[in-house]
């Protein structure tokens, strides 16, 4: 009986074997361990559906498969904005847009697969797209060098500055594999509670002395009127706990010490140096120590995650946080009527009365073309159109009649109904733009949907720009200085900890300087030399 049963059961074995195969798939389905691939570039697979062309002026639209990073709410299929772009640029756009939070994961899989789209967006880690991934893909022969072609495209040459082109060149072979996606120029400064200022009879500070007085008043004079000493002058935040918040967009404060938060700027003596050797470094940390000792700064300013400072601003716990010209209107999403509560101002002046507005090349990743693609010129032609005001307006505002009624490019005033506004977010977003700015400016300003808001934005920006002196900072392509976190991670961590220890009073100034002299300077000497040589080679 038992054997008979076993024999019958064995009939199921064939199904079982099939199931085993599925089990094999299942065990690894959540494993994200990357595998390598020969990844031989196959060129564009999209070319099969349309003729390849180098001058598609009056020809049938060329199909361009675009791999882009687009927010989830935008509907890609049968999108009228995409269709309109296709008409204007004489292309048929097929957009593949993975989730923005896992964009790099999917991009790496696609690049490894060898089956590459015609146009690939690389987000990059430095904002310019020319990151380690790009260097790796270029070295592996997956990307088309574009140096001998880009000069033929006038809009690319006009809208993308020489600094941007320099910024994306490969550090390995000096070639251009990425067309920068231009972005709006951010003028970093600070956002302050204007209502508190008005209540206390103060003005927005323009130098360190005024700033200290305002911070003190915010912390000590009960600006929220609740009778409790529960407010602070300012707060900071950082994108992650591995990097000190004191260097995250704190231009508004460091400018008072002539201490740039970005590499690529000379010290007051006209020499390039690493930040820790600059004349304003210790004074800046000492000033933060003073703010901390006097309890003028949010006690959690060293550990706040990004946006926590803004939340504290919105909670009326702190009065000042960092911000750029779009910060006040942008904050309307978090706190309605923000423009009536807060105001934006430029960086503080230094001792000489100069407020340095360090402006880095404004890029938001860039576009890559696969090696051997038959559509290089078609894609470049599309990107050339993408760098026009026409394209920028289309991708930022949508289609006239559908997502807005009228638009004045001079004032950027947009008239749209509530229904059109609702449609806009499902049809396009800044993520869709081939270039997010033309000559450093976008077609629209987020939340500037009334003349009053637009006027507030312009007034505050004009005042900030009038106060500040723009300093164009070139992109630093010095691998060693950019990669200290990778080469000496423990010492970088130790240096960060020492900065915090000095600010919080755990060590004194001499102990901190001893650390710099004995450990930090020797360990970074090689990187500093490469950095200084690179900067001097630019002749700026």
């Amino acid at each position: 009986m038992r054997n008979n049963s076993v024999n019958r059961a064995s009939l199921l074995v064939s199904v079982l074997l099939m199931s085993s195969a599925l089990a094999a798939c299942a065990s690894g389905n959540n494993n994200d361990a990357g595998g390598s691939s020969d990844a031989a570039p196959s060129g564009s697979t999209a070319s099969a559906s349309s003729p390849s062309s180098t001058s598609a002026d009056q020809k049938d639209p060329v199909t361009i498969k675009m791999f882009n990073r687009v927010n989830a709410d935008v509907v890609i299929d049968k999108n009228p904005v995409v269709e309109e772009a296709g008409k204007l640029a004489n292309v048929k756009l097929e957009i593949e847009a993975p989730p923005i939070n896992n964009y790099v994961d999917k991009l790496q899989v696609v690049m490894a697969s060898g089956d590459l789209p015609d146009l690939i967006y690389n987000w990059g880690t430095a904002g310019n797209g020319a990151d380690a991934n790009m260097e790796k893909w270029a070295q592996n022969g997956l990307l088309e060098p574009l140096d001998d072609k880009i000069a033929n495209y006038p809009n690319l040459m006009k809208n993308i500055t020489p600094e941007m082109w320099d910024a994306v060149k490969s550090v390995n072979d000096g070639k251009t594999y990425i067309i920068p996606r231009t972005n709006v120029v951010n003028h970093w400064g600070y956002m302050i509670n204007q209502q508190w200022l008005d209540k206390l009879g103060l003005k927005a500070p323009t130098n360190l002395e005024e700033f200290t007085n305002v911070a003190r008043a915010f912390a000590k004079n009960d600006p929220d009127g609740n009778g409790k000493a529960d407010t602070y002058g300012l707060s900071l935040s950082g994108p992650d706990l591995g990097r000190n918040t004191i260097w995250n967009a704190t231009n508004f404060l460091t400018a008072a010490f002539d201490l740039p938060v970005v590499d690529g700027v000379k010290d007051t003596d006209g020499q390039y140096k690493i930040r820790e050797k600059m004349s304003g470094y210790i004074p800046y940390l000492t000033y933060l120590k003073q703010l901390n000792d006097e309890k003028l700064i949010d006690p959690e300013f060293l550990i706040n995650k990004i946006y926590v400072d803004t939340e504290k601003l919105n909670q009326y716990k702190v009065g000042i946080v960092y911000g750029h010209q779009y910060a006040v209107l942008g904050n309307i999403s978090k706190l309605p009527d923000s423009e009536k509560i807060f105001s934006y101002h430029g960086v503080l002046k230094d001792e000489k009365g100069v407020a340095s507005d360090w402006v880095t090349p404004a890029m938001w990743g860039g576009w890559m073309i696969p090696k051997g693609s038959k559509k290089v010129d078609d894609v470049l032609k599309f990107l050339d159109w993408g760098n026009t005001a026409e394209a920028n307006t289309l991708f930022q505002l949508g289609v006239k009649g559908l997502t807005y009624d009228s638009y004045d490019p001079a004032t950027k005033a947009v008239v749209r109904t509530a229904d059109q506004t609702a449609k806009l977010s499902t049809l396009t977003s800044p993520y869709m733009t081939p270039a997010n700015a033309i000559n450093g400016d976008g077609a629209s300003i987020a939340n500037a949907d009334t003349p009053e808001r637009l006027a507030i934005y312009k007034k505050q920006l004009d005042e900030a720009l009038a106060q500040m002196t723009a300093v164009n900072v070139p992109a630093v392509r010095s691998p060693k200085i950019l990669n200290l976190n990778g080469t000496i991670p423990d010492l970088v961590k130790k240096k960060d900890d020492k900065e915090i220890a000095y600010i919080t009073g755990s060590i004194d100034e001499q102990q901190f300087k001893d650390f710099l002299e004995k450990e930090w300077y020797p360990a970074t000497a090689d990187a500093e030399k490469e950095y200084v040589d690179f900067m001097n080679s630019l002749g700026k």
Binding site: L16, L22, A23, A24, G34, N71, T421, S425
Partner: protein, 290 residues
């Protein structure tokens, strides 16, 4: 006569207190998110930990109900969850049952092959190639089939079926039942706790699927709910903000995020209590050696 000593009572009291505290800690995130999904943001700013709304506002839910992408995600997730669970249970039963027979020819080899997949797999890129070459790329099958039969669950199921007394099968055979009848009439009814457990395990896994969808799909109308939710909720540029702007509703990004989380987890939270008794029984599968 009460034979419990004072120390026993004290121990029970401490035990209950710790367990209650732990339960409250588990409950806290849900209550927090639920409360602030219906609380005006200004109230949250004023009292970030109060959690009991002074007045309730459903504006955030009205906003997210307008998001077609969430409804599409719901549809996809329900499809891959229902189909995935049905397939998973079917495959578990028809695979585990023959493997539970100790004298099945080649049983050890097959078990070895199955166990092998618990420790070794092709990796991300080969799996991507496999899905493409099977023409499953950009289909919901790519989110159902690769996880349809897990080796670990299969071994647990085999152990459970193996613990059912063979005499029950033998008596059924004497009555003329074939293997499929025995499976359907004897094994399946007796395996209900195990099946319920695997239903919950797999349903939760399928409901939370997002990484496979990133790799195996490129069309947005195939995205499962959790992939969309992740993109909406994680700070990244703010679809929630776009929704807010679109509606011009006065509802803030924070409140919309809270509402999205509740909206996406509610079904699985509602189903769990009905399956809990089976789940608790099933948790003991494989814990007792026969």
């Amino acid at each position: 006569m009460n034979i419990r000593s004072r120390s026993d009572k004290a121990f029970d009291t401490v035990n209950y207190a710790v367990i209650t505290l732990f339960a409250l800690l588990c409950l806290f995130p849900f209550v927090y998110v639920a409360a602030y999904s219906v609380t005006p943001y200004t109230d949250y700013l004023a009292h970030p930990l109060r959690m009991i709304p002074t007045h309730v506002e459903f504006g955030a839910y009205r906003q997210i109900f307008k998001m077609s992408v969430l409804w599409t995600g719901y549809r996809n997730t329900i499809v891959i969850t229902v189909a995935g669970v049905a397939l998973n249970i079917f495959l578990l039963l028809i695979t585990a049952y023959p493997l539970s027979k100790p004298d099945l020819k080649g049983r050890n080899v097959i078990l070895l092959l199955i166990t092998f997949t618990m420790f070794f797999n092709g990796g991300l890129i080969p799996n991507f190639y496999l899905i493409r070459s099977l023409d499953m790329y950009n289909t919901l099958w790519s989110l159902i089939l690769p996880g349809a039969l897990g080796a670990y669950n299969l071994i647990l199921m085999k152990s459970f079926i193996g613990s059912i007394p063979p005499s029950l099968e033998e008596s059924a055979s004497l009555d003329g039942a074939n293997e499929l009848t025995i499976l359907a009439r004897i094994i399946v009814p007796l395996s209900k706790p195990a099946i319920a457990t695997f239903v919950i395990f797999h349903a939760v896994t399928q409901w939370n699927t997002f990484f496979n969808a990133i790799i195996y799909t490129s069309k947005r109308d195939l995205w499962p709910l959790m992939l969309i939710v992740r993109d909406l909720v994680v700070d990244s540029g703010g679809v929630a903000r776009d929704v807010l702007d679109a509606g011009n509703s006065g509802v803030t990004e924070f409140t919309i995020k809270m509402a999205i989380i509740i909206f996406s987890t509610l079904p699985i939270i509602l189903i769990f209590p009905f399956m809990q008794k089976y789940f608790l029984k099933g948790m003991l599968i494989g814990s007792i050696k026969g």
